[in-house]
Subunit: 267 residues, 2 copies
């Protein structure tokens, strides 16, 4: 049986992993430092466990115990059980999904390891919004991409909102940071990847005209919605493509643009 510890004091120091979950600035600092991330809801927690992330503990209300008992038994993690109100006091929000798990990060793979095993990958630069990062992962995973490489200025894929929006696909698709930036960009050419920048620039090739051989390795570069890719990232690419847009419309959301481009690149 998993160890159950009933909590009545929201200041209980054993709940330190769960304090102030809505304070993004705080969590952005503390989570990577302590090798922690938070998974919420049954499916996402199960996917994190299945991907080999050790569970530090779980925080949940009584109602969710029966549903979560199998994963608690599998991991042997301690479960802190409290009222919905206590959960809200600790975390700063009403925990709709009933259960939160404090999970241990794993060392990120080397970029070369992601590139070696892949044929179609996504490279993100400047995508600093957690919702967009999660949505891009979900689309990339669904549409058959084999990996994601992130410039250091991107939002953390393991931040709670990224994980949730990704529907747990951050645990399914190999990813890592591309560091040191921008020098590590050279790896793409060394590994034989054709580097394709997505841009709204009118002189770019229409995405519909892009033809890739099935065996060809390709890396799709995506920048932030506002700024787009940096000159350095463009310089590392050998082709610019654009999604054909109707007159008078500025742009697609970056996650929608990513999905369209991944669809076009997949085979």
């Amino acid at each position: 049986m998993p160890e159950l510890i009933r909590i009545t004091d929201p200041a209980d120091p054993r709940l330190a992993d769960y304090v102030g979950l809505t304070d993004m600035e705080l969590r952005k600092r503390t989570e990577p430092e302590s090798g922690l991330f938070i998974a919420e809801g049954e499916k996402v927690i199960q996917r994190a466990v299945a991907a080999g992330h050790p569970m530090r503990s779980m925080l949940l209300s009584d109602k969710w115990l029966p549903l979560m008992t199998p994963v608690l038994e599998e991991t042997g993690a301690t479960a802190y059980v409290g009222s919905p109100r206590l959960l809200e006091e600790v975390t700063g929000f009403h925990v709709h999904r009933g259960a939160l798990a404090a999970m241990q990060r794993k060392p990120l793979p080397e970029p070369a390891a992601v590139l070696d095993g892949a044929r179609r990958i996504v490279v993100l630069e400047g995508v600093n919004n957690h919702t967009n990062v999660g949505a891009i992962f979900r689309g990339a995973a669904a549409l058959g991409m084999d990996g994601v490489l992130l410039a250091p200025d991107c939002a953390d894929p393991l931040y709670r909102r990224s994980v949730r929006v990704s529907m747990g696909t951050v645990f399914a698709i190999p990813w890592t940071k591309l560091e040191p930036w921008p020098q590590a960009l050279d790896l793409l050419a060394e590994h034989g990847y054709r580097r394709i920048a997505l841009t709204p620039a009118p002189d770019a090739v229409d995405l519909r005209e892009l033809r890739l051989a099935k065996t060809e390795k390709a890396a799709l570069f995506l920048g932030s919605e506002g700024e787009g890719l940096s000159p350095r990232a463009f310089a590392a690419c050998d082709l610019k493509v654009r999604i054909p847009m109707a007159a008078g419309v500025d742009s697609l959301n970056v996650a929608a643009a990513a999905a369209v481009a991944c669809y076009a690149l997949a085979d």
Copy 2:
């Protein structure tokens, strides 16, 4: 010069249009009833005005007056000016985008009028999330769709969040409600539209295999992320298509799926 009225009392009855903007249940009832919607931020307000929506009034802080004066002069609307704190007290949230406009709805066109002028349209059923509706509009407009028809169970495209996420494209692309539902679905066949249902069903045609003649009229049916299209909507379609998915991934977000399908349908 536009009329400027300085407001210091958050209970001022002249601000009735702006009260409780974060209370979605309240606004969902009151806005359509009184023919009102709220546009926020310079670009979106300008697009609403450009689309011919009369402005009932504007609520803004001093800092935003210079930027908004041209559109106030153009419309002749009264501007209520208050401190950022007053704006927050009235509306229930911190108004990042500085200016809110209470706009007048216009009568929706008949579905036949949308169908007549179009060649590629989107039909939404059960998409009851405002963010998704806004994102679908943005994608449909950017990717060259000519119109959107909504079943009565969809979220309001003129609700504040829909408008914002759509980047104002709800004012650019013709749309209306498809009523009476489901009888009005017959209009699509009568107007010569090929009706294409997007579904994850494995027996559906791979979207990549879909070939449409340039002159062919086509309607893309999209359901909600959870439930999908109803049997009635499927019955009104003559073809099912699916986006090819990688193994082990459930689905795309409905807005990403919509963007991919609109891209594939456009020419």
